[in-house]
Symmetry: D2
Subunit: 344 residues, 4 copies
Amino acid sequence: MHMSKRRVAVAGASGYAGGEVLRLLLGHPDVEIGAVTAGSNAGELLGTLQPHLVPLADRVLEETTVEVLAGHDVVFLGLPHGQSAVIAEALPEDTVVIDCGADFRLTDPAAWEAFYGGDHAGSWPYGLPELPGQRELLRGAARVAVPGCYPTVSTLALAPAVAAGLVDPAGIVVVAASGTSGAGKAPKPSLLGSEVMGSAGAYGVGGTHRHTPEIVQNLGGLTDAEVRVSFTPVLVPMPRGILATCSAPTTIGAQEAYAAYEKAYADEPFVHLLPAGQWPQTKSVLGSNAVHVQVTVDEAAGRLVAVAAVDNLAKGTAGAAVQCMNLALGLTETTGLSTIGLAP
Amino acid sequence: MHMSKRRVAVAGASGYAGGEVLRLLLGHPDVEIGAVTAGSNAGELLGTLQPHLVPLADRVLEETTVEVLAGHDVVFLGLPHGQSAVIAEALPEDTVVIDCGADFRLTDPAAWEAFYGGDHAGSWPYGLPELPGQRELLRGAARVAVPGCYPTVSTLALAPAVAAGLVDPAGIVVVAASGTSGAGKAPKPSLLGSEVMGSAGAYGVGGTHRHTPEIVQNLGGLTDAEVRVSFTPVLVPMPRGILATCSAPTTIGAQEAYAAYEKAYADEPFVHLLPAGQWPQTKSVLGSNAVHVQVTVDEAAGRLVAVAAVDNLAKGTAGAAVQCMNLALGLTETTGLSTIGLAP
Amino acid sequence: MHMSKRRVAVAGASGYAGGEVLRLLLGHPDVEIGAVTAGSNAGELLGTLQPHLVPLADRVLEETTVEVLAGHDVVFLGLPHGQSAVIAEALPEDTVVIDCGADFRLTDPAAWEAFYGGDHAGSWPYGLPELPGQRELLRGAARVAVPGCYPTVSTLALAPAVAAGLVDPAGIVVVAASGTSGAGKAPKPSLLGSEVMGSAGAYGVGGTHRHTPEIVQNLGGLTDAEVRVSFTPVLVPMPRGILATCSAPTTIGAQEAYAAYEKAYADEPFVHLLPAGQWPQTKSVLGSNAVHVQVTVDEAAGRLVAVAAVDNLAKGTAGAAVQCMNLALGLTETTGLSTIGLAP
Amino acid sequence: MHMSKRRVAVAGASGYAGGEVLRLLLGHPDVEIGAVTAGSNAGELLGTLQPHLVPLADRVLEETTVEVLAGHDVVFLGLPHGQSAVIAEALPEDTVVIDCGADFRLTDPAAWEAFYGGDHAGSWPYGLPELPGQRELLRGAARVAVPGCYPTVSTLALAPAVAAGLVDPAGIVVVAASGTSGAGKAPKPSLLGSEVMGSAGAYGVGGTHRHTPEIVQNLGGLTDAEVRVSFTPVLVPMPRGILATCSAPTTIGAQEAYAAYEKAYADEPFVHLLPAGQWPQTKSVLGSNAVHVQVTVDEAAGRLVAVAAVDNLAKGTAGAAVQCMNLALGLTETTGLSTIGLAP
């Protein structure tokens, strides 16, 4: 029997996350795109703001209001942090709401207050199906919190090692080189092309980046041992992509490490453990929902080193959002998503 | 009294290191440029291969031979690894020879054999004047081994912390994002613009990069404690620049760490400790001999985090070479070098 | 009735054109991928050379021989210029052969000899269905010559004006900024990332680029007037994309020009005439088969100015190839192709 | 006799033009840097906004007022268009005022009103010493209007041909690929790194860019014939540099064209006519005051094609400003300026 298409709204359609959700939905066989909304850009043509989405060029952006978003089967929220809770509460309980923002990711109110400030809105099922046991929580869920881009790639790089007890999780170091789209479309001098091209710079150093507690939360769920993570994001001159270099103290060897990753990811459709010796590059996952992973052990340093690459807007945000929508709606998890990157 | 200018030869003038040495020498008041030599490019005009060096456009590249290089006060070697020793031995003992290659950097023959293979040529005074006691060894030296680009920036990022015993040097992690010029001018498919633009990728993972033992050697000279370094280089889409994110376990606080760096670098002309809270960016050091450094402590992770930026071809190679030449010749150390970057 | 899938081979699968053909074929519902072949890379895993094509990672590249390619319904050739003729002649007449190279594009033997040298192999139906009358020639064709990337974008930018007699085609000027992938994957020093990032440079200046006679041929087919084209390609630092700025003397006004383009492209699925005042950008067509076009008239200069953007590897090569395959096989022309770009 | 250093103020020191003026002045032996001023950034440390200017890191930006700027020998103005006139009028007549903005470039009030709007402030000696007769007007001048970046490179590319009557100046076409810094440091979404990296786009198409009348004015001064220029700027993904591809109808041959350029630029210190067959690249002029030029004739198209490369912030703005300051103060024209680029 052919099911009727689900009607989907996208709030924040003029931003990068919203635009990428739309790009993916346009190729999804089981949905039709309903309302597309924006804040200050409401009233403009989508074709002016997202000229790459040709089939939607004539769509007019509506205001992001509950009235506009109600009546859809699925609502994607690509809103600034702190704006999702009000909208979500006002939508019917059986509407599938997928939040690309941070509001419902953290379970610990203290962590929320320390890193985001203000009241903690609560937590929703966390949209990383590749975490042990997590996929089941997402099937049929009516609310999903899409993970942050850095937590996605860092967690998937380290999860097999932490879960199997192969490393000391109190000594984790993550340094992640990211493209600029993760910083969004709101213009700031430091994000101008003139500033970012030809330059690399760290920011949020010393554990102050808001994605830090999310990484700790994810890895902490995999072990009873103490988890401490030194996380440093580095902005590098490319529009998309994150390459996370992750390490932790270990006493095992490289083959044992690789075998553990092979086992952990054998059945994951979007985690691609590369052949031993081949290292991830972000270009290979451009536009795709795949995460490329490799692992080895540096015996001289006594550390397991895992590297993972992700497209921050695809599997790092909008791809994960669609993957979770598929699970929430009971569709095949991989529908409308691809493991094929755009290279060169 | 006005001293006559020193006559300087540059071997490997068609490559990136040689080209940058020439760029700096053209602005140096106390030298005149003698022979410029190349391997397979001998016979060609420098203007064809290095069109940015307009004043030398009509110079013909000579063969890299002892005969051509002899008779200069200073000889810079920008040759592939393994080719410097034969040339250097045949040059007069009082000729100042500055080797931009790796041949004479490592003091431990076992480390040489493990990472480079073949016989160890020996070691020369190591051209990092900012290391404690090192400046004195370089004054008047007739042979200098210019440090590798990653070791320069990694060592300067961590030296104050290691020397003062503020961190556990057995748990050092360095992840360094580098522009592509460090890989040289010999064409390989993986270094094509089509491949590197828009992509980040780690290489030499697991402690296999040749600069690893050099970092260990430098930091090991500053402490009696065991030094273990997990070093991962990451190629990012920019022609020049390295940003090294370095961390190690600590129990001190951020202010104590900053104070130690302030003290260590107070009199260093080329190490620029940024005001607290401002983090290094490679664009700020483009073309300059400066190293920008910042440090903090991530108390939740229990790690001191130091970040340093350098131009891999300038202070990371050719600038250091000229700085060492100045010391070797008894000139003012900063002559012909600048702390001013080219930005944006 | 469900038709069985067509079996398709790709020769030159380790190169950029071949890789892009494979990327598109992986999303095409009516084909299955048969042999993938290479020259010097034969025997290697596709996953090593094209790591973004995850579903084909385990495929071994075979030798590019007639034996390997025979027995497929369709053969795509992504070979160096001059190598297609021998292969094509040996394949059965009813095998659809789509040549991404230049061998069969030019109809004038003198033009071939002047720009490519050697004997003219002949000409095949030219794979630009958007040219008046051309689509019909491609339906059911067994041989197709895929246009060059610059001719595609330049021709589509100017065709409506030339065909309608709105401009003097003896005074055409085309300056096209191109990403680097058009130069292919064979490594040359001038194409290194270190060389191309941060720099723009013209090449093939003065009408010497091999795509010049192809542009003249295309536009010449639309008018009886003399066609003269000054074509200058400019290499700019991006992996993909061509932006062609095209102009010619005119006496009409901007509205008349726009109206002519509107009429000419009203029914073309892949030519997207932007709303008046919005100008093409290559990012909007990244990975897509769309060509974005805009036109105006500079009355002070007396010239019509048309700008078009294309992805040189997609609609500029592999997308056109698949579009032509669809026509040749009698499939819907747009199958497996998209007008949606990957941005940002 | 040793002259005392001239005291120089820079207004707009937080912007790109102002920052580049400061970078050059720091290397100028005959000046000392006095006040550095800004608009909304007044009160901030220069080291925060221009971290590459290490020697000035501790300078506090003052307000841009006549009081602050008065009392200097030279005042550079790097202000938004329209703000220079008020400041300049209030400064003493014998203060050398060098305006990097557009206010005093155009001699024709009608052109000013058409392209900038508002009242025409008048015109000052035009700071392009390479124009015939212009150098003399700049010696000892107390007011100088620095040319726009596109007019500088386009004029120098075409001047020899127009002045010698080798081309029909009614059929000039200029397409210029530019880096993003020409658009300044004020943040706009379209100038974000995420938007500009990996993309090329034309703007100001159809003769609407404000630099169009300036190009016409410059070339019009070289001939009695009618000058018509079709000018299209193209934004490409690099921070600095302009490559102008310029052409015009001709009946001469390539050798005659080259000879004319050789003669015209034989004594120009900053115009570097490349050897025949070698084409300009912007990387060769990065940070330098040189303009690289090449010319040929496309006989099939009947057009002379000249290509020139310039650093838009150096010779295109701040370098020209310093060159004009040298002339105005009676210093050697080349003092503090270099023809050496920073590459790769």
